[in-house]
C-alpha cells in the first residue's frame, strides 16, 4: 500500500501536539488548583519568549536560558497572583475571567510599548537542522521541544503525585475549605500553582524560540489552541492536556493536508465541540 | 385513596459506588413522612432522584399516579414536587422577595400576581421583615426559611425538606416545627430528611429508615425506635 506522506504527517502532527502540550500544561495546572482560566496565558508565553530573546542577545542559547526563563516566570506568576489574582478570587466568577483578560491587554500594550510590534527571532540558534528517519524528516527544534514537553510533564506529574506540597495542592483543588481546615495555607498553594504554571509556560517560551519568533501579539494563536486543548482534555487534568494536545496536533496537520490548510482549524474546533457535548467534563476531566 | 408518592426499589450508582441500592418509600397524602438514616446512607441522593435533579440507575418513582423517574428536574417541579437543599442554595444577589417570586412565577406567570403570592408566602414563613434583604446577607436559619418559602411559593403537592432543622437553636427549631404543622394544615404532603431521630418523632406520621442506600425499615415512629435493625444501623452491631 502506498502511504505517501502519511507517516510524515503523523510524526509532524504528534510533534506539533507536543508543543501545544507544553503550553497547555501550565494553564491546566492553574485551573485545576483554583478554577481560574488565565486568559493572559498567551501573554505569559510572550514574556518568556522575549526573555529568551534577551538572553540570546547576550550570547546564551535558548536551551541554556531555559532554567533562568522558567525561574523568572515562576517569580512573575507568583507575583501576579499575590498582587492581583488573589483579589479577583474574592469577587464573582466573572471577575477572574475579565481580570485576566485585562492583564492580557495590559501586557500586550506594555510589550508593544517597550519592544514595538516588530517580529524578532533568535539568530544562529543551535538545533536548526533536521533528523532523517527513512522518508521522515524531523526538525531538530521540534525534537528538542518535544523532549522538553515530556520532561516538563514528568516533573509536573511526579511533583503533584509524590511530594508533600503537590499533595497539598491537590487537596486544595478538591476542596478549598477542607484544605484550610487541614492546615494547608491555601494562599500559598495558589501562589505556588501560579508560579509553577507560569514556569511551565516559561519553559515553553524558551523552547518555542528555537523555531518561532516573538512579537507582542504572538500569544493569541497559541493561547487559543491551548484553551481548546485544556478544555478538550478536561480542565485541571495534566494527562488530559497531554492527550488533548496530541489529538489537536494530529487533527490540525492531517485535516490541513487531506481537507485544506485554509480550514485546518475547523476540525480542531469541531473535535472540541463534539467531545464536550458528549462528555461535558472533557476527555479526562473530573466533574 | 392511593399514596401521593411511591418509590420502589430505587438504584443509583456513581461509577462503582452504589449510593442507592434498593430504596423504597411511600408517602401518604397530607402526612409527614420522615426519612432518616446514618451519615452517607443516601438520603440526599434519594431526594435528588425523586426531585429529578439526578436520574436513578434503576427503579420506579410514581407520583400522583404517574411515573416520573428520569424526567427533567424542572418538569418534576412543575408536576408539584418542591424541595429544599441540605447545603442551602440561595440566589445570592436577589432579595428575599425576588427569590421567592422566582418560585411563585411557576404557577403565576404574571409578575404582579407572582409578587403578591411571594409576599404572602414570605409572611407565612415569618420572613416578612427581611423581604428586601439580599439572599447572601441572611443568617443560616433565615436562608433555610427562604428555601422553604421559595419551595412553597410553587404551590407544591409534595414538599421535600432536606435537614431544615440542622444548626437551628432550640427556639428556632420550635418555630420551625410550628411552621411544618401549618404547612401540613394546608394539605401539603411532606417528606423530610432529618439526621436526628428525636426531632422527627413528635411530628412524623410515618418513618422510613435508610442504611447504606437500602430501606431497612418503614413504619410508625414508635416502631422505628424499637426496631433492632434501625438501632444497629445507628449504633453499630449490638455488643454480645
Amino acid at each position: 500500500m502506498e502511504l505517501g506522506p502519511l507517516p510524515q504527517l503523523l510524526v509532524s502532527g504528534v510533534l506539533a501536539g507536543f508543543v501545544f502540550a507544553l503550553i497547555a500544561m501550565g494553564l491546566t495546572l492553574i485551573f485545576g488548583v483554583m478554577d481560574v482560566v488565565n486568559f493572559a496565558h498567551g501573554e505569559f508565553l510572550m514574556i518568556a519568549m522575549y526573555l529568551t530573546l534577551g538572553f540570546s542577545l547576550v550570547g546564551l542559547q535558548p536551551v541554556l536560558a531555559l532554567p533562568f526563563v522558567a525561574l523568572a516566570l515562576f517569580l512573575f506568576g507568583a507575583f501576579v497572583y499575590r498582587i492581583f489574582v488573589r483579589r479577583l478570587l474574592e469577587g464573582p466568577p466573572e471577575a477572574s475571567i475579565f481580570g485576566t483578560f485585562g492583564l492580557l491587554v495590559l501586557l500586550q500594550g506594555l510589550a508593544q510599548f517597550f519592544f514595538t510590534s516588530d517580529v524578532r527571532s533568535v539568530n544562529n540558534a543551535w538545533f536548526t537542522g533536521a533528523v532523517r528517519l527513512g522518508p521522515i524528516r524531523i526538525g531538530e527544534p521540534e525534537l528538542v521541544a518535544a523532549l522538553g514537553a515530556l520532561v516538563v510533564a514528568i516533573v509536573l506529574y511526579v511533583f503533584i503525585e509524590y511530594t508533600e506540597t503537590g499533595r497539598g495542592m491537590r487537596a486544595t483543588s478538591e476542596d478549598r475549605i477542607a484544605a484550610t481546615l487541614m492546615g494547608i495555607d491555601v494562599q500559598r498553594m495558589n501562589a505556588l500553582a501560579w508560579g509553577i504554571g507560569s514556569a511551565c509556560v516559561g519553559a515553553a517560551g524558551a523552547l518555542l524560540m528555537l523555531t518561532y519568533q516573538v512579537y507582542p501579539r504572538v500569544g493569541a494563536e497559541f493561547a487559543l489552541t491551548a484553551f481548546v486543548v485544556v478544555a478538550l482534555g478536561g480542565f485541571g487534568s495534566i494527562q488530559g492536556a497531554f492527550v488533548g494536545a496530541i489529538l489537536v496536533g494530529l487533527v490540525e496537520v492531517l485535516g490541513g493536508f487531506y481537507i485544506s490548510p485554509a480550514v485546518k482549524l475547523i476540525p480542531v474546533y469541531l473535535l472540541y465541540l463534539i467531545v464536550v457535548l458528549l462528555r461535558p467534563q472533557g476527555l479526562l476531566g473530573r466533574r | 385513596m392511593s399514596a401521593l408518592l411511591d418509590v420502589e426499589n430505587l438504584q443509583k450508582r456513581f461509577g462503582s459506588l452504589r449510593a442507592l441500592d434498593g430504596f423504597s418509600l411511600t408517602a401518604e397524602r397530607g402526612k409527614l413522612t420522615g426519612l432518616i438514616g446514618p451519615n452517607g446512607a443516601g438520603k440526599t441522593t434519594a431526594f435528588a432522584c425523586i426531585s429529578g435533579a439526578t436520574k436513578p440507575t434503576a427503579g420506579k418513582i410514581v407520583f400522583d399516579g404517574g411515573e416520573i423517574e428520569g424526567k427533567p428536574y424542572h418538569r418534576v417541579a412543575r408536576l408539584g414536587i418542591a424541595r429544599t437543599y441540605q447545603v442551602v442554595q440561595t440566589f445570592a444577589e436577589m432579595t428575599v422577595l425576588e427569590a421567592v417570586t422566582v418560585g411563585a412565577l411557576m404557577r403565576h406567570p404574571r409578575l404582579s400576581d407572582a409578587r403578591a403570592k411571594a409576599a404572602d408566602t414570605i409572611e407565612f414563613v415569618g420572613l416578612g421583615p427581611k423581604r428586601d434583604t439580599l439572599g447572601k446577607s441572611l443568617t443560616i436559619a433565615d436562608k433555610k426559611r427562604l428555601e422553604v418559602a421559595r419551595a412553597l411559593a410553587t404551590e407544591p403537592a409534595l414538599l421535600l425538606l432536606d435537614e431544615v432543622m440542622a444548626g437551628l437553636t432550640p427556639a428556632e427549631a420550635q418555630a420551625a416545627v410550628a411552621l411544618l404543622r401549618e404547612i401540613l394544615g394546608r394539605g401539603i404532603t411532606i417528606v423530610m430528611v432529618e439526621h436526628v431521630m428525636e426531632v422527627l418523632m413528635p411530628i412524623a406520621d410515618h418513618i422510613v429508615v435508610l442504611s447504606a442506600g437500602k430501606t431497612i425499615f418503614s413504619g410508625t415512629p414508635h416502631a422505628a425506635a424499637n426496631d433492632p435493625a434501625v438501632l444497629e444501623a445507628y449504633l453499630g452491631p449490638p455488643i454480645t
Partner: protein, 318 residues
Amino acid sequence: MRSGLVILLVTCVAVAAFALIVQNPFLLDLTFAALLYAVLGQAWNWVSGYAGQVSFGHALFFGCGAYGAALANWHHFSPWLGIASGIVAAAAIALAVGFPCFALRGHYFSIATIAVAAIGEIYVKNADWLNGAVGIEFKLASAGLGSLQFTSKLPWVFLALAVFALVQLATIALENSRMGYYLRAIRANQDAAASVGVDARAWELRALIASAAATALAGSLYAQYTLVVEPESILALPISISIALVGVVGGLGQLWGPALGALTYAFLAKYVAAQLGGSGRGLDLVIYGGLICLIAALRPSGIAGYVRELFARRRLAG
C-alpha cells in the same frame, strides 16, 4: 421601573441635543460608536450578564447582520430586506448553536462560543458567495432612508439612538418580567432555579436568540455606516471580546452597565487612542488593560454597580 424610563428619556434627549449642537463629524462619529457599542453591550448583557453564560462569540451574530446588509446591496435588494434576513440568520444560528451549547457551563461554554465563532469566520473567509477574505464593498446610492446611506453623520446618530432606546426599553421590560427573574435566578444558581420549575436551557435559548437578533441589527447598521464588510474587521475574535468588555466594564446584568461601558470604551478606543497612540506603541492598550484590571480587582460590579453603591450609600447616610 419608572426611574429607568425617566433616565432613558433624559439620556435620549441629551444625546439628541448634543448631536444637533456639535455638528462635528469626529464627535458625531464618537457618539455613533458609543451608541452602537451600548446596543451591542446590552444585547450581550442579556445572555452573559443577566443569564450569566459568558459568550466570546458575538462577532458571529454581528457578522450576520453586516453581511446581510452587504449581500442585499451587492444583489440590488433593499437594505431593509438585508437587515431583516441578517437578523433571521443570526436568530437561526443562535437557535442551532445555543441548543447544544447550553448543556455546557462556565469556561466550557465560553470556549465553545469561541470555537463556533471561529468556525464561522473561517467559513466566511473561504465562501465565494460572501466574497471570501476580500469582503464586500457597498455600491453607492443616493442618500436616504430607502438606501440607508447618508452624506451626513446626523441621521446615523439618530438611527443608532433609536435602536439604543429600543434595546434599553426591552431591557427595562426584561427586568420587570418573568424572563428577567428567571435569567437572574439561572445565573445565581441553575440547580436551585430548576427546583422551582425553571427550564434553564429554554430561557437561555430565548435570551440568546433575542441577543443575536439585536447584535445583528447593530451589525447591519455598522456595515451601512462604513460601507464595507470584510471578515477580519467584522468576525474576528477581538470584535467578540470588545463587545464582552463593554458589558463587563459597565457592569454585568445591570440596565445602565453597557451604556456606561460603551461610553468609556468609545472614549478610550477612539479618543485617547488618537491622543496617546501617536507612536503606535500601545499606550492606549496599557491604559485600557490597566483599567479593566482595576475594575475586575476592585469593583467587579463594574461602573454601573459602583454608581449604584454610591447612591445606596448616600441614601443610607441621608
